[in-house]
């Protein structure tokens, strides 16, 4: 790692002020950022830890019935505390990485990084969640903007993610066994006004909604509703783990499994 200064503020306001410096970068659980620093792929002058900010920790329910998760809440806490309110989200959190990674890695860090194979972006997008930052609220549909790209501005911090709780939901992840990231992951969420389907791991543009499946499932929430539907391999990721065609095929398979498990 290159040398950097370290600060650990205790409020969001202090963190925002610390991040105003040139080349300062926020550090959440560090499960992606620290390996990145070790490879010298980033050279921040200062890391501003977000893990000491009490107002960014924990899971609660607001007056609208949404599940509100503090940006610096580790995956293991989400897995435990969302279990009764939003079981599909809890299950997703409990299968990210491994136990030690889940004790450090945070939802805000994952959503800010927007790795194309990360699990959380699919839950955020399929739930129609709201990404809350230190200065605004961003709808999931406006938030994800491509590979490692989001609506976040420089120095903007995710303080909370608010999830509407669906009537039924499920996440199916086809694990890339070495990294434990999703080779393909599909999150299906059924709300009173329709079904949302979000796919991670598959596309060169990162997480996306499979609108054709959403339409079919909104009319008939059963695996059979997906018969005959397929996703084009254009724009899908191709690497040593799977071809674009393989990933496109897996999307339909995992979507069917998610609907079967949710219904």
């Amino acid at each position: 790692m290159y040398a950097f200064d370290f600060e650990k503020p205790t409020t969001v306001a202090e963190a925002v002020a610390a991040l105003a410096d040139d080349e300062a970068q926020p550090l959440s659980g560090g499960q992606t950022l620290i390996p990145t620093l070790k490879q010298r792929l980033a050279m921040p002058s200062k890391l501003v830890s977000l893990t000491g900010i009490a107002e960014m920790q924990g899971v609660c329910t607001n007056d609208a019935g949404q599940l509100c998760i503090g940006g610096a809440t580790p995956h293991a806490v989400v897995a435990a505390e969302a279990a009764s309110k939003y079981p599909a989200l809890s299950a997703l959190a409990s299968n990210i990485g491994d136990p030690a990674v889940r004790n450090r890695g945070t939802i805000g860090g994952s959503v800010a990084n927007n790795d194309p194979a990360a699990c959380y972006p699919s839950a955020v997008l399929a739930s129609g969640a709201t990404v809350v930052t230190n200065n605004r609220e961003i709808a999931a549909d406006d938030y994800f903007q491509g590979l490692f790209s989001t609506a976040l501005e420089e120095g903007e911090i995710i303080t909370e993610v608010r999830f509407p709780v669906p009537q039924a939901a499920n996440y199916q992840k086809f694990v890339q066994p070495a990294s434990r990231f999703a080779l393909v992951g599909v999150f299906v969420a059924k709300f009173a006004d329709g079904v949302r389907v979000a796919v991670t791991g598959a596309s060169n543009d990162g997480v996306f909604r499979w609108t054709e499946a959403e339409k079919a499932l909104s009319a008939n929430f059963s695996p059979d509703a997906l018969n005959g539907l397929s996703v084009s391999a254009d724009g899908m990721i191709g690497d040593l783990h799977g071809t674009p065609e393989y990933r496109a095929h897996l999307i339909a398979v995992m979507t069917k499994r998610a609907v079967a498990a949710a219904s």
């Binding site: 790692m1 290159y2 040398a3 950097f4 200064d5 370290f6 650990k8 550090l27 560090g30 499960q31 620290i34 390996p35 620093l37 070790k38 200062k46 890391l47 830890s49 893990t51 293991a76 990485g97 491994d98 136990p99 030690a100 990674v101 004790n103 450090r104 434990r180």
Partner: protein, 161 residues
């Protein structure tokens, strides 16, 4: 450089370390506690697992300064002060849960935490809990067997592998 203080295995320690000092470097190189191992240094192999404020974490993927004020337990703090091994350590010895021993500190730390949270895990739960700990000798069977035995479950019907 800035001062960092923490409690390691019940002992108050401190040091003047750079912002980019890893927790595992602080433990091994500054405190000279070399029981915690560094295998991959990329947060995959789990040889560096320690307990920070009661949670299993990979100490190669946490900055020393992030542990300011924390209570840390390493593999050196698992046995009793008189040298009597913990039930997890004893089970690893009894069931041949190690060969070269390089991964063992991390395995023991992960298994100890698992059994605190889930005192009688199933074999599948043990294997799920070990996903972040890689062993290149044993093929895992005897590690899983040792952990099940440490939980007080009968492992006599599990074949030796």
């Amino acid at each position: 450089m800035a001062k960092v203080s923490m409690t390691v295995n019940g002992r108050a320690v401190s040091g003047d370390v750079a912002g980019n000092r890893l927790l595992v470097e602080f433990l091994r190189e500054d405190l000279r506690m070399t029981g915690t191992h560094v295998g991959c240094d990329t947060s995959q192999c789990g040889a560096c697992v320690v307990h920070v404020n009661g949670k299993a974490v990979k100490s190669c993927t946490m900055l020393a300064h992030e542990a300011e004020g924390a209570t840390i337990t390493t593999i050196e703090g698992i046995a009793s002060p008189d040298g009597t091994m913990s039930r997890v350590q004893q089970a690893f010895q009894d069931h041949h849960g190690l060969q070269c021993g390089f991964c063992t500190p991390g395995m023991v730390m992960t298994a100890t935490k698992l059994l605190e949270q889930n005192p009688t895990p199933t074999e599948a739960e043990v294997r799920h809990a070990l996903e972040g700990n890689i062993c290149r000798c044993t093929g895992y069977h005897n590690i899983v067997k040792a952990i099940l035995a440490a939980s007080g479950q009968d492992v006599s019907k599990i074949a030796a592998e």
